[in-house]
Amino acid sequence: MSTGVTDGVAVEQMIYTWVFALVNALVLLVYAPLLDGIGRKIRARIQRRRGPSILQTIYDLRKLYCMPGIIDGYSGRYARYAPALTMALAIMAGLIIPSFLPADTGCDLIVAAYLLVAVSIALTYGSLSMSIPYSVVGGCREASLMMASELCFAGAIASIAAAYGTLYIAVASPIIRLDPFKPSMIIAAAVLAIIAYVEGLNLPFEISEAEPELAGGALIGYGGRTLALLMHSSMIKETLFIALLVDLLFPWSILGTGPVGLVLRIAVFTVLTTFIYMVMRMLDTVYGRYTPRQAIRALKRVGLASIIAVILASIGW
């Protein structure tokens, strides 16, 4: 691709891409809370409760969005802006990471990773600007977790890039199909899955909002629609991590092209993400919570595995 897009085909291509991307982002806005609702239902059923309706999260968000925002009055200037920025970044990530529709924005892993991480960065800036100790401690935990999971994420990305000589998701995507038994890729896939699990704030890694000691942690300074924005964007982020995983692991090209392929893709994507999400929620339900140190230590081990993956990939395995 080049900066000056001249021929009509490319223009048409681009328009399609962006329309698809837009659709993806908009659908995600609803899909993410829906997944959360499903998660709550599953959690309830594992605990043999009836649990709320699947739409409950959406109702909650609607309620919060209708409320006026509330924020810690002593907090710094940025804290007011943080929710908006967080949401915008989440939507941006939703735009460029291909999810339901194959919007090949030529987005590469680095951009995707940075946007996804930026979501939690924007939030952390906010929560560390609060005057409430719980919020500050929660923010620190969020940041530490971010560092630790970035260790693994970087490893996974580097190994994929090294193995395929490219960073573009669209190119690197059919990992499994190309090499069913490339050890580095298997490790990388596993690591990516773990990252998705961790970034989804599933137990035992849900430490930044640990209710027992921090009473909501990083989010405690926010209420009303500001809280809604933050919660909503973190849900989107969580979903996008899974989307990234699916993008990379599923051999999309076997679905063929044209409208049929499109429909197939939507179906496959929805089924896969929902399934993965449900599995994650199930695990989340049957785990206790780590202390921050234990969580980081666990992620460090994963990170070492990903380093091995990088080395294997760079020697061509």
Partner: protein, 651 residues
């Protein structure tokens, strides 16, 4: 020689004259205080102009001034190494960096001076500051290795004086450490290397050295390995790369703010400049240097950033970070050599890497200068540097805090700011590559998240969180300081949102290296997202969108209420956790990496203690008579230059 233009001829010496004025007038400090700032800013504008013109003129200008070099003197006085000044594109690029940094930091100086006035730390600064700019300028534009050595020496000495110019105990100790660690050994090594090269080339001007080394280095061990090795070692010490890093935090931390801005923003780039010239211009791509640079760069960025994570002193934190960022630059530089030296000889990736190195060097001088300035603004307002005690400035100085936020975002590579683009080019060139590079790219990316965390700490604890103690200061710092910071912030955004501007400059610069010709098609694919640059797209979407969300959902409709303290309320300075312990758990888990740094820092402390004993003599060095003596020989030296140049020296 060709290419001489009237304009350049006279412009080249304008800064020299301007910058010399301060210590010619050095007895009257009052006038000087603002005066030197004015002079410096004017001359840096000139430098900027020179840089741009030198870079954008169709053919690279090697301007040799007959009335400066006067080959006639060679026979007359047996003086073999004519003083050749000139602008080729490499030096022009770094001239732009130098000009920009010195310009903004001297604008900043206007306001900052009266803070120094208050603390009576002004005297030596206003003389050393222009001096340093001068010598950096000369080092960049000199075109002869011999004279490079001389000027480099002077630059080092000025730096040392500048570091000590606060005359605080710590400051002097820092400058002595700087002396012990960089000058004494480093200069020797550089001198040795240069001598070897000159001997093997029989000539000192860059052009000819480049020609000979390109031919020689493949078979000649001395020219290809030993000499560059020596020079590299010296430059590593000067730019604060592992293992010669230990002076960096003290030097940057202890010197007055715009001095440290200048040091970290420009002086470190001079070292990078020489590295670049050495490996991209003098030498052909040799694999061994690729490996060395990649390893050194990675080690430096990992070590520097991880050390920065645990700092609680704003300036030391920034100092460690500038170590780390230089590590990124060196990594990219090494990567581009590596990629050209080993199969598959991927010219595209290599040129992307080289571009990334230059780009990141530029970005680093932008946001690091800005960050040092923001730290200085906090110091200006509160007179405090410890993150544990700062806070609440965001409400007092909105503009400054916004600038600081932008800088923090940029250095931590948050899209769409400039740091993102250059880092991303580094990953894009290292990760998909072969052999050693992917692991380095991985380290770089991991470390960039550490950078993020550490700047979350930096920003929130100075500007973000509420103030934990009473601040007897309201409103922004003086206009000039704010202006300087806003300029830099604007550039950070610009270089992020429209990367094609710096990339164009870089494109020109790279034509001057062994990458020439491949550059243009080399850069384009690396920076495209559906035909546009990702950061452009992101900026185009995220900024308006977040603004929209803020406008619709938050602003005006959000109530600030008192935070919830479980019903047990306490003054904030008691309840708010201290930044120095923010990442305890992380540091504790990654202790293997830290235990190494613990050892080194122990040795540092030993050096420090030995310095304590040296202190009386050390500070005596800077007492006026000696100092005046130094200035005197300086003037003599410059007269000598002019004399040689004009050939009117009796003999």
């Amino acid at each position: 020689m060709p290419g001489t233009t009237w304009l350049n001829t006279y412009f080249l010496c304008i800064p020299v004259i301007l910058l010399l004025i301060p210590f010619i007038l050095s007895w009257n400090k009052r006038i000087l205080a603002k005066g030197s700032a004015v002079l410096t800013s004017i001359s840096s504008i000139v430098i900027l102009f020179l840089g741009v013109s030198g870079l954008t003129s169709r053919t690279p200008i090697i301007t040799v001034y007959p009335w400066l070099s006067c080959p006639c003197n060679i026979q007359t006085y047996g003086f073999p190494y004519p003083l050749v000044f000139g602008l080729d594109r490499i030096s022009s690029y770094f001239l732009i960096i130098l000009g920009l940094v010195s310009l903004v930091s001297s604008i900043y100086m206007f306001g900052y001076l009266d803070y120094l006035e208050r603390r009576r730390e002004i005297s030596r600064l206003i003389i050393n500051y222009p001096l340093l700019v001068l010598f950096m300028y000369l080092v960049i534009i000199v075109q002869s290795l011999f004279w490079f050595l001389v000027l480099w020496e002077l630059m080092g000495f000025t730096t040392q004086l500048l570091v000590a110019s606060r005359m605080t105990k710590k400051g002097v100790a820092a400058s002595m450490k700087y002396y012990l660690l960089t000058k004494a050994p480093a200069e020797l090594m550089i001198a040795g290397g240069i001598a070897a090269i000159i001997v093997s080339c029989g000539n000192a001007t860059y052009a000819s050295v480049a020609q000979t080394l390109h031919l020689a280095s493949n078979h000649d061990v001395v020219a290809g390995i030993v000499a560059p090795g020596l020079i590299l070692a010296g430059l590593m010490a000067k730019t604060g790369l592992i293992p010669f890093h230990s002076w960096v935090p003290d030097a940057y931390g202890e010197s007055p703010t715009m001095a440290s801005a200048l040091l970290s923003g420009a002086a470190s780039k001079v070292g990078v400049y020489m590295l670049f010239r050495l490996f991209m211009y003098f030498l052909p791509p040799l694999g061994v240097w690729g490996v060395v640079l990649v390893v050194v760069g990675t080690a430096t960025l990992v070590y520097g950033t991880l050390m920065a994570l645990r700092q609680a002193d704003s300036k030391r934190l920034l100092a460690y970070h500038s170590m780390g960022q230089i590590g990124y630059v060196v990594l990219a530089l090494g990567a581009s050599i590596y990629l050209m030296a080993y199969p598959p000889y991927s010219v595209i990736l290599s040129s992307v890497a080289a571009a990334a190195a230059l780009y990141h060097a530029f970005n680093h001088s932008l946001f690091k200068t800005l960050l040092f300035m923001s730290a200085g603004a906090a110091e200006y307002a509160v007179g405090e540097r410890s993150l544990d005690l700062l806070g609440g400035l965001g409400r007092i100085m909105p503009l400054t805090s916004t600038a600081a936020l932008i800088a923090a975002f940029s250095i931590s590579g948050v899209p769409p700011f400039n740091g993102f683009v250059s880092k991303w080019m580094i990953y894009a060139s290292t990760m998909p590559a072969v052999g050693l590079l992917p692991i380095c790219g991985f380290a770089a990316m991991f470390i960039s998240s550490v950078t993020t965390a550490s700047f979350i700490k930096y920003y929130t604890s100075i500007y973000g969180r509420p103030s934990i103690k009473h601040i007897g200061f309201s409103g922004e710092p003086p206009l000039s300081m704010v202006l300087a910071m806003l300029i830099l912030a604007g550039l950070c955004v610009l270089f992020g949102v429209v990367p094609l501007i710096p990339l164009k400059l870089i494109g020109y610069t790279l034509t001057n290296t062994w990458l020439q010709g491949h550059v243009v098609q080399g850069l384009m694919p690396a920076v495209s997202l559906v035909g546009m640059n990702p950061s452009t797209v992101i900026a185009a979407i995220v900024f308006p969108l977040s603004g929209l969300l803020y406008g619709i959902l938050i602003s005006g409709r959000t109530r600030g209420v008192k935070g919830w303290f479980c019903g047990a309320e306490k003054p904030l300075d008691k309840t708010l956790p201290a930044p120095s312990h923010y990442y305890d758990d992380f540091e504790n888990v990654f202790h293997e990496i830290y235990s190494f740094s613990e050892k080194t820092s122990l040795s540092l402390r030993r050096i420090g203690r030995s310095l304590e004993t040296l202190l009386p003599r050390a500070s005596a060095v800077f007492e006026t008579p000696v100092y005046m003596a130094f200035i005197a020989c300086l003037i003599v030296f410059l007269l000598l230059i002019i004399g040689l140049a004009t050939g009117c020296l009796p003999g």
